[in-house]
C-alpha cells in the first residue's frame, strides 16, 4: 500500500509542479510572461485529483488521507521551490525588513 500511495502522491505532485510552472499569476509576478491557458490548467488539475479519486473508489480511506495530506505538503513545497527560483530572496533577510523601524 505504501508504495502505491507514494506513487500517487508523486504523480499528483508532478502535475502540481506543471500547474505551478504555468500558473499565470505566478509567472506575471515573476515577470516570466504568460502562463498556461485555462483548458490546460483544468486538465492538469483534474489529473492531479485522479489518484485520490482512485483511492475513494476502492474504499481505501487510509491511502486517500495519506494522498491528500502528502499532496498538500508537496504542493506547498513546490510553491516554495518555484518562488525560490523566480524570487530568490532568502529568509535570512526577512528579520531585517521586519525589524526596520523597531529598534
Amino acid at each position: 500500500m505504501t508504495l502505491i500511495t507514494l506513487l500517487a502522491i508523486l504523480v499528483s505532485a508532478a502535475l502540481i509542479l506543471l500547474l505551478g510552472l504555468g500558473d499565470p499569476k505566478r509567472r506575471r509576478a515573476a515577470r516570466q510572461g504568460q502562463g498556461h491557458g485555462a483548458r490546460l490548467r483544468q486538465l492538469l488539475a483534474v489529473g492531479g485529483f485522479l489518484p485520490g479519486l482512485n483511492f475513494i473508489l476502492y474504499g481505501d480511506a487510509a491511502a486517500f488521507l495519506l494522498w491528500l495530506g502528502g499532496t498538500a505538503v508537496a504542493g506547498w513545497v513546490v510553491t516554495l521551490v518555484l518562488a525560490s527560483r523566480s524570487d530568490p530572496k532568502g529568509v535570512c533577510c526577512e528579520g531585517a525588513k521586519a525589524g526596520k523601524g523597531h529598534n
Binding site: A29, A61, V73, V91, C92, A96
Partner: protein
Amino acid sequence: MIHLPKQETKTMVAVHGWSGILLGLLLYAVVLTGTAAVFAEEIGAWSAGHVATQSAFERPMADTLRRLGDETPARYREAVDLFETGDHDLGLFFHRHEMDGGELISRGLFYVVGQDGRVIHRQAGTNEDVYGARNDNALSAFLVDTHVRLHVPNPWGLLLTGILGLSMLVAAISGLLIHRHLFKDIFTLRRSGSAVLANRDAHSVAGTWSLPFAFVLAFTGSFFSFFGTVGMPVVAMAAFGGNVQALTEAVYGNPGKPDPRPVAIGNMDRINADAIARAGAIPTFVTIENFGRADAKVTTYHPPKTAAIAPMSLLYDGATAAFLQEKPLIGPKPSAGGTLAAIMSPLHFGNFAGLLSKAIWFGLGFAMCYVTYTGIRLWLVRREGGVRSFAWLERTNMVVGLGLPFALAASAAAFLLAMPLGSATWWTPAGFLTGTALAIGAGALAPDTARLGAWLRSATGALLLVLPPLRLLTGGPGWGAALAAGQPIIVTLDIAFLLAGAWMLWQLRGPVGAPRPSRALQAAE
C-alpha cells in the same frame, strides 16, 4: 471563492486577525510541540537508545500474569492494564477505579517485567504515577505533555488547549471566507520587496495548501481537550446523576450479568497470539476487566488494519481465553458515533499508517506552525509606522517563534546528559526552561530583530548538530549497533537532526540584514 459583502469581509478580517493575535503565540507552541510529538514514540526510542524489537506481547506472559495476580491484594484486582514500557518490557497495572475530587482515577500496584521474565520494578500508585514521565521516556513525555496541556494542571491545561484549538478553527474558517482568490493565488509567493506582500503571500499560500487539515487537526484537538473536561461530566450529569464511573462503564465497558465466582484467568499467551493473528498487528494496549472472576473480559487494542483508519479492538472471554467479538470503541455494537470517535485519534496523531502517515502529519504540522508565525508577522507589518508601536510584539513573536525550537533542542540535550544519571525527569523540563530563559535574554539584549533572528537560528542549528554526537557520547547505541538490532529510526533521527541543524546554519550565509534586490513584480506595479 466565497464573496462576502465589504463590511462582512472587514469584520471577518478583524476576527481572523484578533483570534490569531490574542492566542497565536500559545497556539504556535501547541502546534509546534504537537508536530514534534507526532514522532514521540520514535523520539523516545532515539533518546533512550532502545534497540529491542521483539514486543512484550510476543513473549510468554501467561504464567507471570497469574503469579503477579496471586501476589496482588484482591482489592486491586478489579482490572489490569497491560502495555509495553521502556525497551519493550511488559508493564502490568493491577488496579481499582475510584473517584478522587470528582475525577475518576485508577489506584493499584504496577509491575514491570523485563525481557527475561523477571519483575524489575514494583510500585504502588495511581494512573498518574504509572503513565507519567519516567527517566527513560522523559523527553517524549515532556513533548506530549506540552502539546496536550502546556504543563498547566488539569483540567485548566486541557481547557486552554481546547480553546486554542477552537481559535484555530475560527481562524481557518474566517481565513477561508476572507480569501477571495484562494486557488488563483495558490502559487503566488512574492518573497522580496514589500514586507506586507511577502508575509501575506507566505501566510496565505501555506494556509491554503494545508487548509483541510487545519480544520481536521483543530477540530480533533479540541475534541480531545473537551471530551474529558466538559463532555464526560456534562453527559454524566444529564444521564447518570453525575456518576462518571457509571458513564465510563456504560460507554467503554462490556455489559453482561455479573459472575463473581473466582476463576483463574485464561491463557493470556493464547489470547495474544490469536489477537495478533486476527488484527495483523501487535496490541498497543490490553485491558482485563474483573481479573480472576468467571466474568473476566480481555480487550486487546491494535493499530488500524490496512486501508482502514479506525483502530481495531478485540474482545475475549477472560476465563476461557475464547474470542468473543470485534469490539467497537463505544458501546457493545458498531455505531456511527463509535466510528467517528474511533477515527478522532488517527486523524489527529496521523498514526494510522506507520512512518509514512507520521511524516506527512509532521509536514502538515510544520506548515501550520509557519501559517501561525507568518500570520502574526503579517498583522504586525500591516501596523508598521502606525500611531502605536508593536515593536515589543515583533520581538516576542520572534522569541517564541525561533526561541521555542531552541528551547526544545535544549531540553533534548539536557535529557541526553541526565538520563544516564537517572535524573532526566527533572533535567528535561529544566533544560527547556534554561533554553527559554536564554531566548528571552537574547530577545532583551539583541540590538534589532534581524540580529535576534540570526542568534536564535544559529544557536538552534548548532544545538541540533550537537545532539547526535551527544547521544553517542552519553552511551547511546552507534549506527552499526542500531541497524544491526533493526532500529533504523535511531539513525534516521540522527541524520534528520544533522540536516535540520545544517539547514538552519546554511540559511544564515551572507551578511545579516542585507536584502537582495527583488525580481518580483510588486503590488503597486
